[in-house]
């Protein structure tokens, strides 16, 4: 039924190869901005993959997923500020705090569904956001610089940008592989069954609440890991990391890339963040001969006017996102 050499698989393989070649390109051209951009893309792709586990497969639309990015990051930042730089301490703690937060949020919000679920997850994320603003010692509203990246002794040096990029890419692929196993396991079937028809799941004997809660915690923990990476990448953490619009971005990535598959959100993250960088430049260069440089720069500020309709088109005409589009071409 499914062959290995489909357009979709070829495309996904190409994306992975291109991601792996980014540092090579950066070294050859000296364009390190590109590598920094792609480090960010890879990290946020990981967050989107974790969100998709609960949203795409579990039907739990969390509108507060960026909170885990912030929690993971703040654990790193706060520990660094207090002089604890060992990654062997920082990272497990970042994961543990994220998991604990997910457990509390999940335990309460999974008692509701639909719009209420969305609203409660948003409310919790906003709560953490304002708590972070209140942390005067840790920069409050402005956030704080992290002067030293996580230390892993001689094992790995995160300050080396190429090493760090490959670590992020490795963790993204590992996360994706893990999520792929999860969704196809018995646990994953239980989760997908609850998305499809929760009432029937309970009628045939599944305690669905438990499974959904565990799934929610797994997703939160994985996103906490992305948060720890992000803080190390930017050497900075601020409440803006978990602004609700960031949660929205993660949802857009998953929807744009395709919620039906594990890899969809990776494609979505690459697409969305590339557009974010490329569209303003594209608009400026194509408009400046027509209306002059200054006016074109002004117009370029409104690049989202182009992105909006694009996203709309995907939602209206390509329900499966980019991934579904590729699979559809194969079929047709």
């Amino acid at each position: 039924m499914s062959t290995l050499f489909t357009l979709r698989n070829a495309f996904v393989a190409a994306v992975v190869v291109l991601l792996a070649l980014v540092p090579v390109y950066a070294a050859l051209t000296g364009n390190y901005f590109l590598m920094s951009l792609f480090t960010r893309i890879v990290i946020l792709a990981m967050a989107a993959v974790s969100l998709n586990l609960i949203m795409g497969f579990g039907g739990m639309v969390s509108f507060g997923h960026a909170a885990y990015l912030g929690i993971g990051g703040y654990v790193i930042g706060i520990l660094a500020k207090e002089g604890v730089n060992s990654g062997f301490l920082q990272w497990p703690l970042a994961l543990a705090v994220s998991a604990l937060f997910a457990l509390v949020v999940g335990a309460l919000s999974l008692r509701t569904r639909g719009v209420y679920f969305i609203m409660i997850t948003l409310a919790f994320a906003q709560m953490v956001y304002y708590v972070a603003i209140g942390l005067d010692r840790y920069g409050g509203d402005d956030g704080m610089t992290i002067y030293k990246r996580s230390q892993f002794g001689d094992l790995i040096n995160l300050s080396n940008k190429t090493t760090f990029y490959y670590l992020c890419l490795f963790l993204l692929l590992a996360t994706t592989y893990l999520v792929w196993h999860i969704v196809n396991s018995r646990f994953g079937m239980a989760i997908q069954g609850s998305r499809s028809n929760d009432r029937r799941m309970r009628a045939i004997g599944f305690p669905t609440y438990r499974y959904k809660l565990v799934c929610f915690v797994i997703a939160g923990t994985l996103c906490g890991l992305a948060g720890a990476l992000l803080a190390n990448h930017t050497d900075f953490i601020s409440p803006a990391t978990m602004h609700w619009t960031r949660s929205g971005d993660l949802i857009v990535m998953a929807v744009l890339g395709g919620m039906g598959t594990v890899l969809g959100p990776v494609l979505g993250a690459v697409a969305l963040l590339s557009f974010e960088e490329a569209l303003p430049v594209l608009i400026r260069t194509s408009a400046s001969p027509l209306i002059g440089g200054d006016a074109a720069a002004k117009v370029a500020e409104y690049w989202q006017i182009v992105l909006g309709p694009l996203f709309l088109a995907v939602v209206l005409f390509a329900r499966g996102g980019i991934d579904g589009l590729l699979a559809g071409i194969r079929r047709g």
């Binding site: 196993h181 396991s185 069954g193």
Partner: protein, 263 residues
């Protein structure tokens, strides 16, 4: 009298001013096929929903195999062997027929906290599921998406899923709703076979089917039991005639309510 498998005592539920079930007391011995009939709005589906544990009762107790299950959630009741089917088809539409039944098998094959091994490759889940599909006459449809199956096939799949949980008792909510005469006849045959192994509580509008299958019949009107007894006794009961069967007899014993709306 054989030992009672399901005992219902004074079960009540009201929605605002509407009394949906009013002190329902029932005793269903092991091996019996017990039908519940009543006009639309009599509270039949409410009763099944209460028995399945999806709806909390205002008063009354339910005992299953001598065990008080009044406070147990739906999934626990299913684990104890109380399976229900739905009047309005309730399936996993975006899954294949085999996946649907395999989920029902999985629900009763220990906990599902297995995160690594592919569930679709597990013979322990797939083989019983395939067998259940074959028994329901859906073997040829195993790999089809459920959303593409016909209405009659949905009804069959409903039963197949309930059976795949290896229940001790079935709560069937209008298994013949919306079926044509041929499909109904096939369903009657299926139920007759199931009756040999299982205790069944059947809600059904198709009177021919009910009187052909039931060992005992309970008549529910406005949430209250007005009669309970053998099919012969029910047929002869004056109250029942007046409340319910009258219209049927005028239609020369034909089921005028086949495929009627929710009861």
């Amino acid at each position: 009298m054989a030992e009672a498998l399901l005992q219902v005592e004074g079960l009540s539920k009201r929605f605002g001013g509407v009394v949906a079930s009013d002190g329902v007391t029932l005793e269903i011995p092991k091996g019996e096929l017990h039908a519940i009939i009543g006009p639309n709005g009599a509270g039949k589906t409410t009763l099944i929903t209460q028995l399945a544990g999806e709806l909390e009762s205002d008063a009354g107790r339910v005992r299953f195999e001598e065990r008080d299950i009044t406070a147990l959630p739906t999934w626990r009741r299913s684990q104890l062997g109380l399976a229900r089917s739905f009047q309005i088809t309730s399936l996993f539409l975006d899954f294949t027929a085999l996946d649907n039944v395999a989920l029902a098998v999985q629900a009763h094959a220990g906990h599902s906290f297995h995160f690594w091994r592919g569930a679709r490759g597990e013979p322990a889940l797939r083989e019983p599921a395939r067998a259940a599909l074959d028994r329901a006459g859906l073997g040829g449809r195993a790999d089809m998406l459920v959303s593409r199956l016909s209405h009659g096939e949905h009804r069959q799949l409903e039963i197949a899923m309930a059976l795949a949980t290896s229940p001790r008792m079935l709560l069937l909510d209008e298994p013949m709703a919306g079926m044509g005469p041929e499909e109904s006849a096939r369903m009657v045959k299926t139920l007759r076979e199931l009756k040999r192994e299982l205790t069944i509580l059947l809600i059904e509008h198709d009177m021919e089917a009910v009187f052909a299958l039931a060992d005992r019949i309970t008549v529910l009107v406005y949430g209250r039991i007005i009669a309970s007894g053998t099919p012969e006794a029910i047929r002869a009961n004056a109250d029942v005639r007046q409340a319910y069967l009258g219209e049927q007899e005028e239609a020369q014993g034909k089921s005028v309510e086949r495929g009627a709306a929710n009861g």
